[in-house]
Amino acid sequence: MAAGATSAPQGVSRPPSAVAMALRHPGVIVGGIVVLVVVLMGLLAPLLGTIDPSSINPAARNRVPGAEFTMRTDTGERIRMTALFGTDSLGRDIYSRTIYGARVSLLVGVAVASLSVLIGLAIGLVAGFFRWLDAVVMRIMDGLMAIPAILLAIAMVSLFRAGVLTVILAIVVPEIPRVVRLVRSIVLSVREEPYVEAAVTLGTPTGKLLWRHVLPNTIAPLIVQGTFICASAILVEAILSFLGIGVPPEVPTWGNIMAEGRQVFSLYPHNIIYPGIFLAVTILAVNVLGDGLRDTLDPKMAKRV
C-alpha cells in the first residue's frame, strides 16, 4: 500500500524559487539595472570616449562643462575635444576621471562586501555553534565594533602606505562584527531546530552538519547584508579619499576628484557635482537593490501575508 506520497503535486521539484521571486521585485529590477550599468561603465571605461584620466593639460585648466580644448597625445598629435564635465585645476578631463573612478569604487565595494561576509560567516558559525567559544569571540567582536573605520584608516595609512588594499582592510575590519552578529543569531535559532538535532543523532560530523544544515539558512540574509555593506564601503572609500587618507591622489576615484575640486568649488562647482551625482546614484541603487532582496529573500522582513 504505497498510497501516501502520490497525493503530492506533480511537476514541483523545489520550493518556489527565491531568485525568480526576487527578479520580479521592482526594487531589485531598478537597483539591479543601475548597478549593472555602473559596472559596465567601469569595465568599458576605455571605450566610452575617455582619455587618459591622469593626463595633465595645463593649457586647459578649469574649463566649464561643454568647453572645447586641445590636447596633445603621447605621440605628439594634437586633437580637439569637448570636456563634457569640464576639467579640473590641473586640466584633467573630469568626464574621463569620473568614468574611471567607478572602477575603484566598485572594487572597494565588492571586495569589502565579500571579505567581510566570508570572514564574518566563518567566525559567526563557530561562535554560534560552540557555546564555550561564544563569550570570548563576541567580546573580541564588540571591541572591533568600537573602532571607527575612518580612524582605523588614518592609523593604517600612517603605518603602511596609502593604497586600495589599505583602504579595503580598514573598512573590512569594523564591518566583520556586524556580519558575525547576524550569522550568530541565525545559528543560535537554527541549532535548536529538530532537523539539526536529528542530524546529531545520525552521527553527522560537526563540519558537515554546519555546512549542510546550518549554513544554507544564512545565505539569504547574508546576500542582503552584503549589498548594504557594499554601499557603505563605497561611501567610506569616497570619504577617505576626500580626506586625503585613502587611495593616492593620482588614481581617479570619486572621492579624490571631489577632494581636488574642493578649493575651487565656489567658482567651478562641476568638479564636485558630477562625481557626486555618480556616487549618490550608485549608493542609492545598491541600497534599493538590497531592500528589494531583503523583501524577497529574508522571510522575517518579507511583506508577504
Binding site: 532537523y195 538535532e197 536529528a198 543523532t201
Partner: protein
C-alpha cells in the same frame, strides 16, 4: 422559540491565491442559541477556525473574504457591516478567546489594564468604576487574590491563569456570543479540565451562547450541547451531543471517533526480552550555585530517574509540560549531557562517554521528534535525509539508497518519492519519513518524543499503527514520551508517570490505568477529557 444568538446561513469564504482550494468554507449553516454551547469539531484544514474568524470579522485581509451567505448576530446582519460598526459590536456583543494565552496577552501591560481596555472603549465608566468591574469579573473567573493580581504582568501568571484573564476580558461586558477557538489546546490536561469547567459556569451565569472550536472529541464530550462536524470546509453532520457521539450517522464522523484512542488499555503479554536501555539515578540540573552567584536558581529538570526498557517493549513516559519527560529522552539520546547517573545501552554506560567513544553507540539510539514540519531540512530531499546517517557510518551511496527504498516501503510510502522535498508531503507522511530515517540507522532503541501530538487524530492512528509495526518487525525497544493518556493507553506496555522531574509511579499500563496509586496519577486521569465516553474501535464495533 426565541431568536438564536448566532445564525450562519449558506456562508462561503473564498481564498485568494494559488492554493489547491478556492474556498475555505463552502455553504455552511449553523446556529447557536442562547445558553447553548455548540462545538465545531474537525481536523486541520476543515475550516473550523475560518468559521470563527468570519463571524468575528477577523478574516486575514487580502487573503480570504466572505463570498456569499449571511451571518446574523441576534438578528443583525454582520457581513454588510463596516469596520467601524464591527468594532463597536466586538467586545460588547460578541467576544473571542484564543488558543495561545501566552501570545494573546500584551506582555508589557498589566493584566487588569488589559481587561479594563474593553470597558474604556465601550463604556463611560471612570477609572474607579472600571477597576471595580475588573475586580468583579476577576472574582467571577476564580482568579486567586484579585486585588493583588490585577496589577500583575502576564509573565507572572501561569498558563491557566492567563487563559482565565482572557476569558474575563471577553466576558466583562456580558456579550451574547462567546467564540472560543481551541482555548484549552495549549494547556495541560489538569488545567484544561478547570478551564472547561469555568467556561461552562460562565456561560450559565448570563445565558451566553458559546461557539467552541476544537479538534478534540474528548473536549466535545465534556462541554458540548450540540456538535457540528466539519470536513474540508463543509459541515458533515450536526446534532445534539449525545446523538452525534453515541450514534454518528456519517462515515466521516464514525471514522474520526474510531480514531480517538480508547482510555481502556488492551491486555498485553509481558515482554521478557533482553534489557536494551537501563537508566539509573539520572539527574539533569540547570543552573549552579557558586561563590559568585550564591542565590542562583537551581532547577532539577530530572531528579533521580531510573527506568529500563526491554527489546520489543514500549515504555511510555507520561506527564504534563515541565515534568521533565522530554529531558529524560534527550539525556538518553545524549542530545544533552546528564548531570549525574548512568544511561546503559545494551550494557554500555553512555552517560559520560567522550564524543569519539560514544559515536559507535549513537546510531543505536534514534529519536523521532514532535514537529514533522521542522524535523526535516526543507532544503534537502527526503532521500538525502534518509541516507545521511548510514553514509556517516560508512555505507556507500548506492547501498544507502537501496536501504532507503526498502524503508520507504516499510513505512508505506512510495520508494520513488525519495527525490521529493519535505514540503511536498503532509504532516503524517513526514512523520513516516522521520521514522524511516531513524530506522535506516538500524537502532536498538527508538525514542518517540511526542511523535503524534502535532498530527490530526485520523493520521495519528495510522502513525501509531506504523510505530507498532516497526517495533515488532525490528524487535525494537521503544521509549514513548507523551502527554496524552489515550495514546499511552494504546501503545505502551508499561508507563512511568512523571511530575516535576520525578517518576511518581511506574507499572504495567493495565495496572496503572485500573488502579492508579499516586495522587497525581489519579488527578491526571480525572482531568482527561471525555473519560466517560468510550471512543476508539469500541465505539463503532
Amino acid at each position: 422559540m426565541s431568536m438564536p444568538v448566532l445564525e450562519v446561513s449558506n456562508l462561503s469564504v473564498a481564498i485568494r491565491g494559488l492554493g489547491d482550494r478556492t474556498h475555505a468554507i463552502k455553504g455552511i449553516d449553523l446556529t447557536v442559541g442562547a445558553n447553548e454551547i455548540v462545538c465545531v469539531v474537525g481536523e486541520s484544514g476543515s475550516g473550523k477556525s475560518v468559521t470563527a474568524q468570519s463571524v468575528m470579522g477577523l478574516l486575514p485581509k487580502g487573503l480570504m473574504k466572505v463570498e456569499s451567505g449571511s451571518i446574523r448576530l441576534q438578528g443583525d446582519e454582520l457581513t454588510t457591516k463596516t469596520d467601524a460598526q464591527l468594532r463597536a459590536i466586538r467586545g460588547e456583543r460578541m467576544a473571542m478567546v484564543f488558543q495561545e494565552p501566552m501570545t494573546a496577552l500584551n506582555p508589557v501591560e498589566r493584566v487588569g489594564d488589559q481587561i479594563a481596555e474593553v470597558l474604556e472603549i465601550h463604556t463611560d465608566l471612570d477609572a474607579k468604576g472600571r477597576r471595580a468591574r475588573v475586580l468583579d469579573i476577576m472574582r467571577a473567573v476564580h482568579l486567586p487574590d484579585p486585588e493583588h493580581m490585577i496589577d500583575a504582568y502576564p509573565h507572572q501568571l501561569s498558563g491557566g491563569q492567563r487563559q482565565r484573564i482572557m476569558i474575563a476580558a471577553a466576558l466583562v461586558l456580558d456579550p451574547a456570543l462567546l467564540i472560543a477557538d481551541e482555548p484549552t489546546t495549549a494547556l495541560d490536561v489538569t488545567t484544561q479540565a478547570q478551564i472547561l469547567k469555568l467556561i461552562r459556569e460562565m456561560q450559565e451565569r448570563k445565558k451566553t451562547g458559546v461557539l467552541f472550536i476544537t479538534h478534540d472529541f474528548g473536549v466535545v464530550s465534556e462541554i458540548a450541547d450540540r456538535v457540528v462536524v466539519m470536513q474540508m470546509g463543509s459541515i458533515v453532520e450536526q446534532g445534539p451531543r449525545d446523538e452525534v457521539l453515541r450514534r454518528p450517522r456519517e462515515a466521516y464522523t464514525k471514522m474520526l471517533m474510531a480514531s480517538v484512542p480508547s482510555m481502556t488499555p488492551p491486555k498485553r503479554p509481558v515482554v521478557t526480552g533482553a534489557v536494551t536501555l537501563e537508566a539509573q539515578g539520572l539527574f539533569k540540573t540547570y543552573g549552579k550555585r557558586s561563590f559568585w552567584q550564591p542565590k542562583a536558581r537551581v532547577v532539577n529538570a530530572v531528579n533521580d530517574v531510573s527506568l529500563t526498557v526491554r527489546r520489543g517493549e514500549t515504555l511510555g513516559i507520561v506527564g504534563e509540560s515541565g515534568s521533565g519527560k522530554s529531558t529524560v529522552a534527550r539525556c538518553v539520546a545524549r542530545l544533552i549531557d546528564p548531570t549525574a547517573g548512568a544511561v546503559k545501552i545494551e550494557g554500555t554506560d553512555i552517560a559520560h562517554l567522550k564524543e569519539a567513544e560514544f559515536r559507535p553507540v549513537r546510531r543505536r539510539v534514534q529519536i523521532v521528534f514532535q514537529d514533522p514540519y521542522r524535523s526535516l531540512n526543507p532544503r534537502r530531499t527526503v532521500g538525502e535525509a534518509i541516507i545521511e546517517g548510514p553514509m556517516n557510518y560508512g555505507l556507500s551511496r548506492h547501498e544507502a539508497i537501496q536501504r532507503a527504498r526498502d524503508l520507504m516501503t516499510t513505512v508505506h510510502l512510495s520508494p520513488d518519492a525519495l527525490d521529493r522535498y519535505p514540503h511536498q508531503f503532509s504532516g503524517g507522511q513526514r512523520q513516516r519519513i522521520c521514522i524511516a530515517r531513524a530506522l535506516a540507522m538500524e537502532p536498538v532503541l527508538l525514542i518517540g518524543d511526542e511523535p503524534v501530538s502535532a498530527l490530526d487524530v485520523s493520521v495519528q492512528a495510522q502513525v501509531l499503527k506504523l510505530l507498532d509495526e516497526v517495533r515488532r518487525k525490528f524487535d525494537l525497544a521503544v521509549l514513548f514520551i507523551t502527554h496524552d493518556l489515550r495514546v499511552a493507553a494504546q501503545v505502551c506496555d508499561r508507563i512511568a508517570v512523571m511530575q516535576k522531574g520525578v517518576i511518581v509511579e511506574q507499572g504495567t499500563t493495565v495496572e496503572v490505568f485500573a488502579n492508579p496509586q499516586h495522587a497525581y496519577t489519579r488527578a491526571l486521569f480525572d482531568a482527561a477529557p471525555g473519560r466517560h465516553q468510550e471512543f476508539g474501535s469500541g465505539a463503532t464495533a
